[in-house]
C-alpha cells in the first residue's frame, strides 16, 4: 500500500508554491515559437575550468541526499552524491552504474537484487576512506530513521526483508534483508517480486554511500545533523572545515561547491568540467532570468523563466534555451462520482468538444510541448506502445485537438441529448487556479463547458488550495478539476499511472486518483505490471493499462510539458533528461 502512495513530484511542487505572484510567474508557460531541442551531450572539446553559478529562487529541500526529494535538490546534489546508479544526461530508461560497477541483477523471481560496486571510490574530506557496500547498506537503513525524514524509503524499499520492522521502529536499525557479502557487493532480499522497481529506485540519491562511523551519531540527533556535515562522494564537495561541518551552505542564501580532492575521474562517468559551482539562492525569477540571458556563466536552478523572457530566448537566443521533456502531463479531470460525469458518453463528448490547442496556448503553445493524447508521457516506457503521439485506436473523441463539434454531438446524443449539446440543468462544480497561467487555462475550460451547454459553478482558488481543499478531497465533490497534472518520479510508468488511476489509491484526503476511477481491468493490469520483471514486459503492461484508462475518458489531456531551462551565452549547457534540468556535471564554460 505504501508503495502505491508514490510521490507527487517536482513541477507540481514548484507550481504548488504558486501562492505568490513570484512563483506564479515561475510556473508560466513557454512561447509560441518553436524552441530548440534538449542537448544531452557535452560538445566535443568542452573546456575544463571556470566557475558556474546557478541562480535559484528558493533552497534545496534537504542538503542531505538521503532526505532530498526534489528536482532542484537533485540538480545540485548529484554533484556531490553518487548513488549506486544515476542518470547520464541522455539516460531515459535505465540509469547507468555509478558507484555500482554494472547493471543490477534481478533474480528470476524478482525477489533478489544484487549489485556489485566499483573499487577506488573514496569519501571526500574529512572521512577520506574508500567506500564499501556497508556504507550503502547504512545509507538505505538510515532512510527509515525518523530523524532523517526520507520521503520514499518505505515506498520503494518497503518490500526489503525486515524493512517493515525498521519502518516501525524508525530509528535506523540494521535491516536484515540488505546483505553485504563483501566490501563491493550488496544484495537486497525482497518479500515480493518488486525487484525491477527496487533496482530502479537504486538510482535515487538514497543509495549514496554514507559512512556509518561518521554519520551515526549525527543521525541520532532529532533531526539528524548529517546534512550539515555531509561527506562528498562525487566530483564536487560543499566546502567544509576540518570536522566536516559545512561552511559552504547557508540556508536560503548560497551553496558553494568546489572540487573534491578524493574524487577519482577514472571511477566516474561525470566529466565535471567546471572547477567551482556557486548556487545563489533568493533570486527573483524575473531578475534572475534576465541576469542569466544577459550575463556570463549563469544557469537557472529551481525557477522557470517567465513567459516574456522565454519568448525572447526562444526566438532570438535559441542556443541559450534547453527544452527537456518533463515526463508528465497536464489534464483536466472528471469526477466519475459526480453526475453527469458518471456517464462515459458525456465525458467523451466534453473531450471531443474541447479545444485543447486553445488550452495549450494559455501556457505558450507548441513550444511548451505536444498535445497530450494518452496517459504515459514521451520518454517513459510504454509511451510508444500506448500510441506515441497519437490517441489509442478507436478514441475518436481525441482525434481533433482543436475540438470536433460533430464527434461531440455524437456522444451527447448517445447520452440521450438529442440537441447534440448538454441538456442537464444542475450546476456542475468546477474548481481551478485563481492566478497565473493555470487560472487562464481554467477560465478557458470553464467557458468552453458553458458553450457546450453546461451550467457551471466556477470557483477559482490558489493552486495549493485547489488541491488540498477541493480536488484532492472526494468529499468536496468537485465535478471537474481543470488544473490537475502528474509527473514521473523516474523512468517507470508505475509512478505515473498507479497513484492516479488505481482504485486502491482512492483516498479520503490527499487523493490523487481524481476521477476516483476504480475499474477492475485497470486495477488488475496495474497490479500485474507492478510485480512484473523486465522493462519491456512492464512497458507493455503499462501501455495496455494506459490505453484502457484512456478509453474510459477520465480526463481532458492537453499537454505533455517540456521544461524550459536557460543559460548564459558562454555556457555550453547539457540537460538531464531524467531531472529535466541543466546537468551541472556535464555543463562547461565556453
Amino acid at each position: 500500500m505504501l508503495m502505491h502512495r508514490s510521490a507527487l513530484r517536482i513541477l507540481l511542487v514548484l507550481c504548488a508554491g504558486g501562492l505568490t505572484a513570484v512563483l506564479v510567474a515561475a510556473c508560466g508557460g513557454g512561447s509560441s515559437s518553436s524552441g530548440s531541442n534538449a542537448k544531452t551531450a557535452a560538445p566535443s572539446g568542452a573546456k575544463k575550468g571556470g566557475t558556474l553559478t546557478v541562480l535559484a529562487n528558493a533552497d534545496v529541500d534537504y542538503i542531505d541526499c538521503g532526505a532530498a526529494y526534489y528536482q532542484f535538490s537533485y540538480q545540485i546534489e548529484y554533484t556531490y552524491c553518487r548513488p549506486l546508479y544515476s542518470y547520464k544526461p541522455q539516460d531515459k530508461g535505465i540509469p547507468s552504474p555509478d558507484v555500482a560497477s554494472g547493471p543490477a541483477q534481478v533474480s528470476k523471481d524478482g525477489k533478489t537484487v544484487t549489485v556489485h560496486m566499483k573499487s577506488g571510490i573514496k569519501f571526500g574530506p574529512p572521512v577520506n576512506r574508500e567506500v564499501t557496500s556497508k556504507d550503502v547498506k547504512y545509507a538505505i537503513e538510515r532512510g527509515f530513521n525518523k530523524n532523517v525524514a526520507n520521503g520514499y524509503a518505505s515506498a520503494y524499499f518497503g518490500n526489503v526483508e525486515g524493512a517493515d520492522q525498521a519502518a516501525k521502529k524508525a530509528d535506523g536499525e540494521p535491516i536484515d534483508g540488505i546483505v553485504t557479502p563483501d566490501d563491493h557487493t550488496i544484495v537486497f532480499k525482497l518479500t515480493k517480486s518488486t525487484g525491477t522497481a527496487v533496482a530502479e529506485a537504486l538510482g535515487l540519491p538514497l543509495s549514496t554511500p554514507v559512512p556509518p562511523e561518521y554519520a551515526k551519531p549525527m543521525d541520532q540527533q532529532n533531526p539528524s545533523t548529517y546534512g550539515n556535515h555531509i561527506v562528498s562522494t562525487g566530483p564536487y564537495m560543499i566546502t567544509n572545515d576540518k570536522t566536516g561541518k559545512l561552511t559552504g551552505y547557508e540556508p536560503m542564501k548560497n551553496i558553494t561547491l568546489v572540487r573534491n580532492p578524493n574524487w577519482d575521474p577514472k571511477t566516474d562517468y561525470r566529466p565535471a568540467y567546471v572547477d567551482k559551482i556557486n548556487v545563489k539562492e533568493g533570486v527573483d525569477p524575473d531578475v534572475g532570468s534576465r541576469q542569466i540571458v544577459d550575463g556570463q556563466s549563469l544557469v537557472n536552478g529551481d525557477f522557470t523563466p517567465p513567459p516574456a523572457i522565454l519568448k525572447q530566448v526562444a526566438t532570438s537566443k535559441k542556443d541559450q534555451l534547453l527544452l527537456i521533456d518533463s515526463g508528465g502531463g497536464r489534464f483536466m479531470s472528471f469526477n466519475f462520482k459526480v453526475p453527469p460525469f458518471n456517464d462515459i458518453n458525456i465525458r467523451k463528448a466534453v473531450i471531443a468538444g474541447m479545444d485543447r490547442n486553445a488550452l495549450r496556448l494559455t501556457r505558450g503553445g507548441a513550444v511548451i510541448g505536444p498535445i497530450m493524447q494518452h496517459q504515459i508521457p514521451p520518454g517513459l516506457p510504454g509511451f510508444d506502445e500506448a500510441g506515441g503521439q497519437n490517441p489509442p485506436a478507436g478514441a475518436d473523441w481525441l482525434q481533433h485537438p482543436t475540438g470536433d463539434k460533430t464527434v461531440m454531438a455524437k456522444y451527447f446524443k448517445a447520452a440521450g441529448m438529442s440537441s447534440g449539446k448538454y441538456e442537464g440543468n444542475a450546476k456542475i462544480l468546477v474548481v481551478g487556479d485563481d492566478s497565473g497561467v493555470g487560472g487562464r487555462a481554467a477560465e478557458v475550460a470553464a467557458s468552453q463547458l458553458q458553450d457546450m451547454g453546461f451550467s457551471v459553478n466556477f470557483r477559482q482558488v490558489p493552486h495549493s488550495t485547489m488541491y488540498t481543499k477541493f480536488c484532492n478531497v472526494p468529499k468536496a465533490a468537485v465535478a471537474f478539476c481543470p488544473n490537475t497534472g502528474w509527473f514521473k518520479d523516474f523512468f517507470d510508468s508505475q509512478t505515473l499511472l498507479d497513484p492516479t488511476f488505481n482504485g486502491a489509491n482512492i483516498l479520503q484526503e490527499n487523493n490523487s486518483n481524481w476521477p476516483q476511477m476504480n475499474d477492475p481491468t485497470v486495477n488488475k493490469l496495474l497490479d500485474q505490471a507492478k510485480v512484473t520483471v523486465g522493462r519491456d514486459a512492464r512497458a507493455k503492461l503499462f501501455a495496455q493499462a494506459d490505453q484502457k484508462i484512456t478509453m474510459l475518458a477520465p480526463n481532458v489531456p492537453w499537454v505533455w510539458d517540456k521544461q524550459p531551462n536557460i543559460v548564459s551565452k558562454n555556457v555550453a549547457a547539457v540537460g538531464s533528461s531524467f531531472n529535466a534540468t541543466v546537468d551541472l556535471n556535464f555543463t562547461s564554460i565556453k
Binding site: 541562480l55 529541500d61 526529494y69 540556508p251 536560503m252 533568493g282 531578475v287 541576469q291
Partner: protein, 322 residues
C-alpha cells in the same frame, strides 16, 4: 518621564506577548491550506513520514501544549525554536540576517528623509511653480508604483548585469559591510533608492503641506519681523514645526517598512535579510520562523514607537509625559 518609560516598557512586554499569541493562534487554530508537517515532508505526501514530522515538531500535541512549550522555551531559554524548513536555529538566523535588513532600512530611511524633506521644502517655498508641480506629480507616481515593479524597472535600467545603462551593481550583489564597505555601499544604492522612493514621495508631500501651513503661522511673521533672513525663517522656524509630524510618521513607517516594502525589496534585489526570510517562511508555513520574525518585528515597532514618543517630548516642549 522615567516612570512613563518604565510603564511603556511594561506595555511592550504585554504587547509582544499578545502578538506572539495571536500569530500562534492564526497558524495553529485557524484552518489554513498549509499543514507544516505535510509541507516539511513536502514533496512526497507519505502519511507515515508526515506523522513522524508532526511528532518531531510536536505538532501532534494539543495547541495549548505547543503554545506553552514555545512560550516557556522563549522565556526561560530565549529559544525561538528551529525552522520547520531547514532545521536552523531561528534566533541564529535572525541575527545573521539582521545586518542586511538594518543596512537596507536605515540607508533607505536616510535617503528618503533627505530627499523627502528637501523636495518638500523646495516645493513649499516655490509653491505652484513648475518645480513644485513636477515634484508633486512625480511623487504621486512614486507613491502609487509598487515597490516590486519599481525594483524590476530599476534593475532593468541601471543594473550592471541586465540594465540598459549598466552603472550600478544589480540583484544579488549585496556584500556585508564588514567584508567590503565599498561593495556594501554600491550594492545598496539601487535598493535604497527603490525602497526610499515611495516614502520620499510621501514625506515630500507631508513636509510640503506642513511647511505651507506652518509658514502662515503668526510666529513665522514674528520671525520675519525680527529681520531674520528667509532662509533662517524657513529652516529654523518653519521647518522646526513642520518636521514634528514627520517624526511620528517615521515611527510608523519604519514598522511598515519591515512589514512590507523591505520584504519586497529584499526579494527583488536578493538581499539576504529578515524580509526574504519571512517571505520564505510565510510561503512555507514555517511557524517558528514566522513567530521569530513577527516577535522581532513587533518588538522593533513598539520600541521604535516608544523612542518616537520620547523624541517627541524633546522636539515639542509642550508635550510632557507622566
Amino acid at each position: 518621564m522615567g516612570r512613563y518609560i518604565v510603564r511603556r516598557l511594561l506595555w511592550v512586554v504585554v504587547l509582544v506577548f499578545a502578538v506572539v499569541t495571536i500569530t500562534f493562534l492564526i497558524f495553529s487554530v485557524l484552518p489554513s491550506g498549509a499543514d507544516p508537517a505535510r509541507l516539511r515532508a513536502g514533496r512526497s505526501p507519505n502519511p507515515r513520514l508526515v506523522e513522524e514530522i508532526r511528532h518531531r515538531y510536536k505538532l501532534d500535541q494539543p495547541v495549548t501544549t505547543q503554545y506553552g512549550l514555545y512560550i516557556s522555551n522563549l522565556i526561560t531559554k530565549l529559544d525561538f525554536g528551529h525552522s520547520f524548513q531547514n532545521d536552523t536555529d531561528v534566533l541564529d538566523q535572525i541575527f545573521k540576517r539582521l545586518p542586511a535588513t538594518i543596512s537596507l532600512s536605515l540607508g533607505a530611511c536616510i535617503v528618503w528623509l533627505f530627499v523627502g524633506i528637501s523636495v518638500g521644502i523646495i516645493s513649499a517655498i516655490r509653491r505652484r511653480s513648475l518645480l513644485d508641480r513636477t515634484a508633486m506629480g512625480l511623487s504621486l507616481v512614486a507613491i502609487s508604483a509598487p515597490v516590486f515593479w519599481l525594483g524590476l524597472v530599476a534593475l532593468y535600467l541601471f543594473a550592471d548585469d541586465i540594465g540598459k545603462i549598466p552603472i550600478l551593481p544589480g540583484a544579488g550583489s549585496y556584500t556585508p559591510i564588514t567584508d567590503n564597505p565599498w561593495h556594501w555601499f554600491t550594492a545598496l544604492i539601487l535598493p535604497w533608492l527603490v525602497l526610499a522612493a515611495a516614502f520620499a514621495a510621501v514625506y515630500a508631500r507631508l513636509v510640503r503641506g506642513n511647511l505651507i501651513e506652518t509658514m502662515s503661522e503668526d510666529y513665522i511673521r514674528t520671525a520675519r519681523a525680527k529681520g531674520l533672513s528667509e532662509r533662517k525663517v524657513i529652516l529654523r522656524h518653519g521647518l522646526r514645526s513642520a518636521i514634528t509630524p514627520v517624526v511620528s510618521a517615521l515611527g510608523l513607517d519604519l514598522g511598515l517598512l519591515l512589514a512590507g516594502n523591505a520584504i519586497l525589496t529584499e526579494t527583488v534585489f536578493n538581499i539576504p535579510g529578515i524580509g526574504r526570510m519571512s517571505y520564505n517562511a510565510i510561503v512555507n508555513s514555517d511557524l517558528p520562523t514566522i513567530e521569530g520574525v513577527v516577535l522581532f518585528g513587533a518588538l522593533f515597532i513598539v520600541v521604535l514607537n516608544l523612542l518616537v514618543d520620547i523624541a517627541y517630548a524633546f522636539i515639542d516642549p509642550r508635550v510632557r509625559y507622566t
